[in-house]
Symmetry: C2
């Protein structure tokens, strides 16, 4: 189903200039987009976040219409038999390109566009249905409001945190240095306080504002459940009625167990999963 093609600036190639600032400094942004039945799911939302990142990093010269067209062409050429319904994951990376002098991006005006296709991860169905077991990572997320919310290429904290999640666990919660829970290594966190209230961490200082997270906040609103965005402590995690994780590819994984605490898959989580299945 998947061609091993990678496109760099519209051309099929597996390689990139060593001088690219994406490698040299992590000077770029990216998105991971689900491809289903030949369609990029929530593409507009992903491109909106991408643009937000480009603005934050002052990376100019990305033609949004061209990028959208290129993504369509890429999917048409690289994802075969879309009607089969088989899914894949598209990764879009935009770097500032090669150039500048040392750290200075001055004079660097030709961003690099990288599209690559990856197999749909083979997560067992049980993760969504029965829930997952999670751990707590020792790696912390540092505060930097300038870089918070979007997906940039500086991801060492996530790499270090993920390396802590052994094979006994499917995910790991990550805290900032103020001991607040921010997210899990590759997903956002939602705490079901009671049947009326869900809390999800404030991401103004660190963390990624997931596309799935936004969809979930909207859905919960439609279900009449209040979503509070604020500080989440370990105690709130431990005292929660339910807990779930989200990202664009895994959608919603209820948490079954954290430490010695077992969580219910509440009716609201089940209802949310049904609604999200239509959107993501």
């Amino acid at each position: 189903m998947i061609s091993p093609f990678t496109w760099v600036n519209g051309k099929a190639t597996d390689s990139l200039a060593v001088s690219d600032r994406g490698l040299q400094y992590g000077d770029g942004v990216w998105e991971t987009i689900a491809i289903k039945q030949g369609q990029a799911v929530q593409l507009a939302a992903h491109l909106f976040r991408l643009k937000r990142g480009l603005t934050a990093l002052a990376i100019e010269g990305v033609d949004e219409a061209l990028l959208k067209q290129e993504i369509s062409q890429y999917i048409a050429q690289c994802v075969t038999s879309p009607s089969s319904g088989a899914a894949a994951v598209l990764k879009v990376i935009i770097t500032r390109g090669s150039g500048g002098r040392g750290y200075s991006p001055l004079g660097c005006h030709t961003p690099t566009r990288i599209l690559s296709l990856h197999p749909w991860p083979d997560y067992p169905d049980s993760y969504s249905r029965e829930g997952v077991d999670i751990t707590l990572c020792e790696t912390r997320l540092s505060h930097n409001p300038q870089l918070a919310g979007f997906k940039h290429l500086n991801r060492l904290e996530q790499v270090l945190a993920r390396a802590e999640v052994g094979s006994d666990f499917q995910e790991g919660l990550v805290r900032d240095y103020d001991d607040h829970i921010i997210e899990a290594t590759m997903s956002n966190v939602f705490v079901v306080k009671d049947s009326q209230t869900v809390i999800t961490p404030d991401l103004k200082n660190c963390g990624i504002e997931g596309i799935a997270r936004s969809c979930i906040i909207d859905c919960l609103g439609e279900m009449g459940i209040e979503v509070k965005i604020g500080a989440v402590s370990l105690t709130e995690i431990e005292q929660a009625e339910g807990l779930f994780l989200s990202n664009s590819v895994m959608k919603i994984w209820p948490v079954r167990k954290f430490r010695d605490i077992g969580y219910q898959i509440t009716d609201s989580i089940k209802e949310l999963q049904k609604r999200i299945a239509v959107i993501l």
Copy 2:
């Protein structure tokens, strides 16, 4: 003098696999090493810091002896007429390589070695002799003790800070979110308090422990000047008798002006420059 060669894993090529985690996550470390008369200056110290970074990121499989040998071969082949004394800058990047699954580095055991050569920057002599004018950056450095001290590939904060330093200034001071001065965008900072005392910022939470910085601390000790490593406030910068910046390539730049404050190039700075010229 300089061949445009870049070596990736010992082979001359300008390109790298898109799948390399150096690009995908900034999952790697690097060093910038001065090459003079065919010799890598302070190579042992650079390799020591590189190793420290590899250990912090748990990147395994780098054969240190092989890397050292490769650097020698690279210099012999790519830096022509070493006897001319012309200088260049060698950049060594080690990434975790391609592989793993998402953020997880599990199963990724073949690091990528990248060597590239760059022209010696054409800084005017006056920067060392008469000093430089500096500004204060608004971009802050976030605290992360796990990633502090060494040169990893997550350098967006430096890119954003450097972009603030306009053409009227040669460098910019960068603070953390506690308002402490940590470093300048590409150099370490030293505050000459009086003829007996120099202060340089504590880098346990953020910043890079420069090789030049270590050499300077040693030299100042030999000169009978006490070096205090601790928190440096903006007030201390403003009330300093002298101020200077350092890195392996620029060596020591005295600061001539910051805001409306003019600084002396003290006798101790001049003496230090003489001593450092022999080492760097």
